[in-house]
Every structure is written in structure tokens, then in C-alpha cells.
Symmetry: C2
Subunit: 477 residues, 2 copies
Amino acid sequence: MTDDPRQPDADPVESATPVPQPEPEDDEDDEFLPRPELLDRIHAAIEAEDAETLEQLLEPMHAADIADVIERLAPAERQTFLRLYSIEMDGEILSEIDEAIRDEVIEALPREVVAEAVREMDSDDVVDLVEDMDDEDRAEILSALDAEDRAAVEQSLTWPEYSAGRLMQSEVVTAPEHWTVGETIDFLRAEEWLPEQFYHIILVDPRRHPLGYVALGRLLSSPRTTKLADLTEDSFRTISADSDEGDVAYAFNQYHLISAPVVDDDDRLVGVITIDDAMSVLDEEHEEDILRLAGVGEESAITDTVMETLWQRLPWLAVNLATAIIASLVIALFEDTIGAVVALAVLMPIVASMGGNAGTQTLTVAVRALATKSLSGKNVWRVVRREAIVGLMNGLAFAVVMGLVAWIWFGGVSLGAVIAIAMVVNLAIAALAGILIPLGLEKVGADPALASGTFVTTVTDVVGFFAFLGLASAVLL
Amino acid sequence: MTDDPRQPDADPVESATPVPQPEPEDDEDDEFLPRPELLDRIHAAIEAEDAETLEQLLEPMHAADIADVIERLAPAERQTFLRLYSIEMDGEILSEIDEAIRDEVIEALPREVVAEAVREMDSDDVVDLVEDMDDEDRAEILSALDAEDRAAVEQSLTWPEYSAGRLMQSEVVTAPEHWTVGETIDFLRAEEWLPEQFYHIILVDPRRHPLGYVALGRLLSSPRTTKLADLTEDSFRTISADSDEGDVAYAFNQYHLISAPVVDDDDRLVGVITIDDAMSVLDEEHEEDILRLAGVGEESAITDTVMETLWQRLPWLAVNLATAIIASLVIALFEDTIGAVVALAVLMPIVASMGGNAGTQTLTVAVRALATKSLSGKNVWRVVRREAIVGLMNGLAFAVVMGLVAWIWFGGVSLGAVIAIAMVVNLAIAALAGILIPLGLEKVGADPALASGTFVTTVTDVVGFFAFLGLASAVLL
């Protein structure tokens, strides 16, 4: 516990006097959000085209919150907003705005405003801004930068999309290994330009290979004469510029990194990635997984228009229609059976639905386990076995329940037996499909989150209908 | 671009010579993972009960990776591992181990090993370790700590579970506002004990109210005579100890915070939260959302046993069975119709399945939008309208397709018309249910991710079957 010695009684532990409290309440959800009243007043100011009030309202707000406000506006409202507020739009706000509407925003702003905004940005934010633009727009934006910054951005753009090279910022604080704490501090004080945020001094050799890094806390608490080489952190690891940004986020989370040097193929320092950027990537990757699992284009945003939304949803529904028709073809095989025993038509969706749900459960766990790299090697077969057993046990449990329900409902023992057996078969198959299909897709380099769902439900529908109706026609007719 | 002036040519921008490259490859997924060979050798060493080799193999590994290895072992193997490796188990490894198996691990370790490990941990890690233990075990663990650390942990435990108070560490570096850079550096050099990691000096008044903070980078690059008060960051914001950890993670991600002071009800400093902890929370919350959406207990882990897994899955399947039976009751209303036109039994699952998928798409987008706080106020009604229109348009598109398919398949125009109309109705309802149900659950304080899925698919099944079969019996009989 470090503390101001002149305030011996000011220990945070002693000083606090909280009483045990109930679970955090939901209304705290908005603790970090602009209050609704404020939002209403902003809407009012826009409608009234009252630029002055608008500026007063937004002045105290964080750039990220202003960006959210802009994202929440209806397209028409947004245009008005940008006209009223254009001169206030700075680099911070611009880099916070969701990609989905960023182009629209940039279009609406005067060229000089954009140019000024871009000049304020860190190189990584500029890269993020221009990477999806066509060459012409990109050139126009970059022309606003001075030669060195432009070089940094263009350098970063030579790395593949979604790579560490695109994520990093080129502004790095380095020092040679032989420096002392004193020399380093004097150097930092002399340096008129430093990155907005930096957390480590990266030690490099004359050929610019990173050798380690020193946390600023260690630097500050060590005597001037200490050598930097004696203060380096164990956590040090470099990230290669072409590694996938998802893996970078994984590494930051796994190893509690705060910043990490990025190196090129010759293992030379080209930039640094800080944890806040890694955190956004982690956030986006999760978002994409959730949307993919639900069969929604991962690009979808709350700001999307009707047509954008339609085009994200339609293809997935088309795929689902195809698979649903396949399932129907199975049912069609047994039309006569159903004609004879209509109860089958009543009960068959239950078998299919239970299979679909059980499959989705297993599938989701498997997809997440693959994403978190915890499903590989020896582990795989233990998990597959576990899922199969659980599927079987669930099948048996619900076989008993559904068997009795069907028996009582339709007064036929054999009908009860048929649905019971079909239930066991389908839930066992569902479990296997739920784990093996994502594993298979991963093996062939496809994204399990993307395609697994459709495959699994197709399997469970087909197997469910076939097992139930097939058995029925064998037993009941 | 800050750089060692003695290496003018060592600019990271100029120095790098990467060539444009293809998308990052998937095999890089394992870039940050222990190689499979290594894992095999570890398994071999455990089987051979060769403690020495085991230590050699694990010695170079990061605690987080060792924890992963332990999590991936089969239960029996894990026991052997812990026996062989027990003395090496330190606080770092212990705090990295997944909650699902942590108790098992602690049980298996000699008391003195656990005690030693706990002494090494930061207060927030100890809290995380003991918060789910019964009082007896907790007392035993805490007895290993010296009075002050124990006080810090017990203090933190007085805050609600999943609150900032549980997440924070009590070790804080503070300074009075009137200090200069020089005084602060001298103080830090004199202080023999400092937190492992700290990124800001928090300025407090004599009553320990936080007034602002100074980034260590600013401190290092400023002359000794500068007042701390002149170096404070704009990003400064405090977090109240009882706010929900999910909101804390949101705030860190939204405002790019690196560390944030935590205050009690009297706005006095009680601790600090660092971004790496916030990042883990963000990761867990996403994980829980994905699992909840799939109807899997959010506690489920890859290490779970068969029985644990069974008990997580069974309740959700039971709920699904109930809803599936409700859907069947709707079908049962139309047994005669189906008896007369068996084609209806063949086609009806298609209507239900399309509705279920469309509903899930909307639902997922809505749940995520709520989680990211981007769905509220004026925004809501625009999104509801958008979803309704998209649902209607999808309905019309697939009505045409399915109408033709049914017509051609079964040669009945009116049958085609019936399924077409049912499709429009169900997809429109699906869209509305997909957005309104999560909004409703959020309103009443329930977790939309948890319950929405079941409600939505129930709605789409019931509406789908009712619309299709109801229309059929009106039109076709």
C-alpha cells in the first residue's frame, strides 16, 4: 500500500466506510451514458437548427459519447447535425464513429475540417479511417498529413487487413539498453514531442531489434544511476506485424499485456500496440461471433438502413429455406404414414425442435472453446465423449417424458415408444453433430461460428423426422 | 515520433521493410499457444510421473499458459500433475486458473503452498480466489495474509458481487495536488513497496477525495519543478465501488481508460481498477451472453464433467420441450385438416423454421444493441420500424418463393397462396417479437440474452402453425 506519508490516516482501506449492499442495480446501466433528458435537448437543438445550444450541450461530453449521439440520429437528422456542428468535429470524435456511418459523416464534412481532424489523430486511427476508402479519397485524406505521418500510415497500410501491422501505432518511445534511468528521464524531458499515451520504454539494439521493455513505474521508482537493462519486465513479448488482430487481442488478454512492441519479418521494431486497441478488437470479434452464430452479417450495425439490413438477413434465410425444404422432403417420404396416423404430424415437430436445441447448445460451447483455443489436442476427444454421453442421457430423460406424454395424449403405447426412441436417437446425433461439425469446419479453415448452425439444425431436422416417421411407419402400420 | 537521437536512421517507420501480404493465416491461431509437441511431452511426463522433466517443460511457460495446460488435463491426470508440480504452484498460476476447477486445485495442494501463493497475489486476485468459498475455507486462506492485506481483501468483500469494489485493487499510488514532479519522483524512489503495475499517480485532497490523475509518461517528461496539478489528464473519471463490473468494462472500452480510481459513497478513494481486469470482465460478459443466447448455463466450461454439463443443459431443454408441446397443441387443433390434406404436414415445418430464424436474427441484433447501450430513447422506435419493414419484405420475398415451390410440388394454387400468406404473417410477427420481447425483458429488469430466445421461437412456432393451418382449413376444406 503506497501512500502519501503525510496522510498516515488516509489509507484507502481504513478510509472507506461502505456497508454491504444488494446486487448492483440495473438503473446503473446508464451510469456512463448521457442522460435521456440531455439526448432530448440535443434532438430539440438539432430540430431548431440551434448550433449554439448544440455546442453548449455537447461541450462537456466525451468524444466517444458524442460519436454515439451521432450514430443514434436518424440519417436526415444526422445531416443537419453535421451541418450545425461541423467545425467542432475533431479527430477524436471522428475516430470514435462507427465504420457503418463514417463515410457518410466524412462526406458531409467540409474538406478542411476533415483534414484538420486527421492531423490530430494517432497513426493507427488514421489507418483505421482510410483503410476501407478508395485510393482517391484516401490520397485526399493523407495529403493533409505531413510527410512523416503520411509515411507511417502508408507503411502500416502495407500490412494485411486485420493484422497487427494495421492495429499498431508507429509512434514508439525507444532507448538503447546501456542507458541509465537518469539519461532516459533527461532524454524524455528534452524530447518536445511524445506519444499521447505510452506505458513502457522499449529497449532496442542499434539495428532496432527490441530487447525488452521497462515499465514507467519501475523507471520512476529507481535511482538515476540504475541501468535500464536491470529494470526490464518478464512480461515482455513481441508481436509480429502480420499476425491476426484476433490473436493479438487474445495475447493481451491471456498475458495481461499493457503494450507490446510490433516487429517486422526481420524482427525489427515497427510500432507498438496498446491494450485499449486490443480491447476494442476483442469486443468486435465477440460481436462478430454472436452475430455469425445467429446468421446475421457480422457487419450489421444499429445504424443500418432497411435495405442494408435486408441484404444481411436475406441470404441466411435463403439458406435456411433450402435446409427446411430438405427436411420437408424427408417428411414427404412418409405422407401415407401421416395420412394414416395424423398424431405423427402433431408430435414430429417436438422431436426435431428438441434435437435442434440440444445441437445448438453443444455447438455454441464448441465454437466458443475453439475461439478461446481451449479445444485441441488430447482435449478434443474427452469433450466429444462428454457431449455424446450428455446427449444420450438427455435423450433418455426426455424420451421417458415424451413417451409418457404421447401415450397419455394419444392413448397409444407403441406411439409413445416410437417417439421415445426417436428422441434418444436425435439428441445423441444432435450432440455429436454439435461438436463434430464445428471441429470439421475449423479443420478445413472455415469459420465454425459462421456455418455450423445451419448444418447442425439440418442434421437434427432430417434425423429427427426420419427416425420418428420411419420408426412409426415400421411399427404403427 | 520519439526516438533515440543517436540513432537517427533507426526510425521504426523507415526501418521496416515489409511487403504487402495475404490475409493472416489460420495456422497463426496457435502463435501464442504452447506447441502441440510440447503438450504431448507434458502429458508423457505426467504419465511417467517424472516431476523433474515436467518442471523443465513448464519452466519457460507463462503462468496463464500453465493454467491452460492444467485446465486441459483430464481430472485424474490433473491430480497427478498437482502432486508432481505442487511446490511450483505460485500465486500467478493460481489466479489464472479457471473458477470451474480452482476449488479442485486448491483442495489438491498442500496448505503451505496455497498460503505462500496467496501471499504473492494482488488483493483483487485474492478476492477473486476466495469470494465463492465458504467462510471456513476463506478464513483459512486469509489467515496466510498479514493484517493489512487481509484488511484490504475483507474490505473489498464488503462490496456486492460483480461490483467495481470486488474488481479493484486496494494498492494505490496517491499524491497531494501541491506536489511537484521532483517531490513525487523522490517519494516514489524512497518508497520501498509499490504495486506491481501502476499507470497513474492519483491526486487526492487531505480527505482522500480523488482530484485527478497524472499519467506516468507526463510525469517523466516534465521538469522537476512542474506542479502535478498542471499535468492532470482530461480522461480522468472515478468509478463508484458499487457500480456493476459490466458497466466498468463498458466505461474502460468506451473512454479508453487505462486505470480508474474507485470511490465509496462519500466519494473517497478506496482502490483502483486497471484495464487488464476490465478486459477480462468484458471477455467474460460476452462469453455469458453467447452461452445464454444458446440456452446454456453461462457457467459452463470446457473442463466441466458429464454431470455438470448435463445439469446445465437439461433445464433449458425442458423449457424447450414445454414450448414445443404448446406448438404441437396448435397443430392438434387442425388434425382433421391435416388428415384431409397431408401436404400441410410436409410444409408446415418450413413456415415455423423460417419464422424461428428470422426472429433469432432480429433478437440477436436487439440483444447486442441493448448490451452495448445503443438501443434506447428515440432510437428504439426507428429500429423497431426498421425490423418490422425488413421482416415484412423478407416475408414477401420468401412468400413468392415458397408459394411457387408449394404450387409446383403439390400442384395446388390455393395451397401455394396459403403458405405464401402464412410466410408473410410469420416473418412479420417474428421481426416484431425479435425486437419487442428483448426490449420488454430489459424493461422489467430481466436479462434479454437469457430468456428472449425461447419466447421468440415459441411465438414464431405458434403463429407459424396457426396461420398456415388455420388459413388452410378455411381455404382448402
